[in-house]
Symmetry: C2
Subunit: 355 residues, 2 copies
């Protein structure tokens, strides 16, 4: 779903290590730091990338083609990066860590394919989606296959606690998907409803990425917990930023026309804040009813303009910043290694990203 974020504008096709991408021009100082970080981790990310390819090398033409198509569509591979950085707090052994890094990216990919079925999405990251290149059946089963594959890879690590964390995260994620549907076009939802939803949809998988990296590397339990919290806070900020971009970004910046969330009925935090304003509320409610009646097949520019002009934007930005602050603060208790600084850079990138 559009709101799952990380549309892969940093890079297409490979693992975020090439600095030549057109999107870099939007980047701030944090974006530069991020590129340095990716460059520094280039070897390890490439290794994970190869393992990702190997993981879906199935002896089934359609399934392999559909999975590879997905993989090649790229993305920032934030989950594997979080795994790698989390693992730095223990005994860093790629041959072990890959058994969580690969599954976590696969789970993310599988959830995107299923979302595209739901959304009737024809493109993602500028590429045709599996459902439009093949059909919804292929997309659903490709998603099922990738989910299953992810779980079978993680079970190669003989640590049931890791399997538990992974499967519980999957349960929560699937509840989150349903929650999103349930709240489509619901003007009455609370900030809490929204936060719980994006926790399940986005933040949780980023949290367990950090945590499982640490666990797979045998880091101290206390540190794994801190890393979980870091991923959670950073993930919340990431999704809020993503939701802001869908309202405030230009088509050039975000790679698709803005407003796809509201067309789908996905009411995000700037809208929830704007709805609290008695002067805007009646107009926004009318607009929501109109958009819902057209099933999203309508012009939403007027609606977006009102939100952009409201204080909802600044309030949402503040909320994202608060999460970033929390993410950085929770790192304080961790050993002072380079990975800690890298996580801070990452948090700043997430907090300021405009692509």
């Amino acid at each position: 779903m559009s709101s799952t974020g990380d549309g892969g504008r940093l890079n297409r096709g490979t693992a975020g290590v090439t600095a030549s991408d057109r999107t870099i021009k939007h980047s701030t100082g944090d974006g530069m730091k991020l590129l340095e970080l990716y460059a520094k981790m280039k070897k390890d990310i490439s290794y994970i990338e190869k393992e990702l390819e190997r993981s879906i090398d199935v002896d089934h033409p359609m399934l392999r083609e559909a999975s590879l198509h997905l993989l090649k569509a790229g993305g920032k591979r934030i989950r594997p990066v979080f795994v790698l950085l989390g693992a730095k707090f223990g005994t860093y052994d790629l041959a072990k860590i890959k058994h969580v890094a690969v599954p976590l990216e696969l789970i993310h990919m599988a959830s995107l394919v299923h979302d595209d079925v739901i959304d009737d999405a024809n493109t993602r990251r500028g590429q045709l989606t599996v459902r439009s290149k093949w059909d919804n059946r292929i997309a659903m089963y490709t998603g099922d296959y990738i989910f299953a594959k992810a779980l079978s890879i993680v079970t190669k690590l003989p640590d049931p606690a890791i399997h538990q964390v992974m499967s519980k995260a999957l349960v929560e994620m699937s509840i989150g998907e349903m929650e999103q549907i349930r709240f489509f076009f619901h003007a009455e939802q609370s900030v809490r409803d929204y936060l719980l939803r994006i926790k399940r949809k986005t933040a949780l998988l980023l949290a367990v990425s950090c945590q499982l990296g640490a666990m797979a590397a045998g880091a101290a339990e206390r540190d794994a917990r801190r890393l979980y919290n870091f991923g959670y806070y950073a993930g919340m900020a990431f999704q809020i930023r993503d939701d802001l971009l869908d309202i405030c970004g230009t088509e050039k910046e975000i790679g698709k026309p803005p407003g796809s969330d509201i067309k789908q009925g996905n009411i995000t935090i700037p809208v929830i804040f704007a709805l609290r304003n008695p002067a805007l509320r009646p107009y926004l409610l009318d607009e929501l009813a109109r958009i819902e009646a057209c099933d999203g097949q309508t012009d939403v520019r007027g609606f977006l303009d009102i939100i952009r002009g409201s204080t909802g934007i600044a309030e949402a930005e503040r909320m994202a910043s608060t999460y970033i602050d929390k993410a950085i603060r929770v790192l304080e208790g961790l050993p002072d290694i380079q990975a800690k600084k890298d996580l801070v850079s990452f948090a700043h990138f997430v907090g300021n990203r405009s692509y």
Copy 2:
């Protein structure tokens, strides 16, 4: 999919322990033995049934309702029964065994919901499907949720080998689903293509049900392997029987009009055999082309009549019997306990079932 079989005619709503069901009248002596078996296991099956209900007691109204709806639609609970019988060859402890019995039935249920999305099925087991009662989105995410829940339950057993067996089975199952689509309306497929497909679609989950019951109960590895083979052979026979019923059964017997497989493009073993007959082949090829052109929305009675009149029926029946013989033979090496006799009864039921 219709061909996943066990349409639950033995019983609706509970765990196969009530003998009053209308379908019993079709049963043979084997059917009676089966009922006795269910009656004997009644207490344990009811326990698993309650655990199944507890497992999907999620704090989400739509998800709980959709999952409960599925659960209440019933079924023969063959997978939990196989788990229970497999566990008799080790230390039988329900509190442990439930952690494989419940997930295996959940996985079966989840695959049915996803199949219904694919098939645009409006009813299953005489009840509205999740996709028709709610919609395809809810059905897909309900399936995802139930899959995830299944895996999170099995991870409560601290045995990574069990997690591995379970997740590998899931991978194979999802490949099987894709295989089925790939071979829709393919007249050129071989017997081997068919067998591999039904292995993945049906036999494998029954095989691991027996195996994981044994593993969870700490049975000898050799016995667990034998039980796996038993489940595999019985599962193959089960699916062949199911495919025969879809051609030879009456609507009253199978609870839906016959021919749903061929309408969908699913070419089953009696058809593959009949296609080998040069006298029938041209007519059958024409019919297949016609049915495909209408997307299955056509009368298939003529096609079914030809298959029923062909030697493909007897050949498929022989094939099912061979699998049953193999299933029974593989049990020979197991300790002579009551569960062994029960598995033999089960195999006979599967081999002769007409409902």
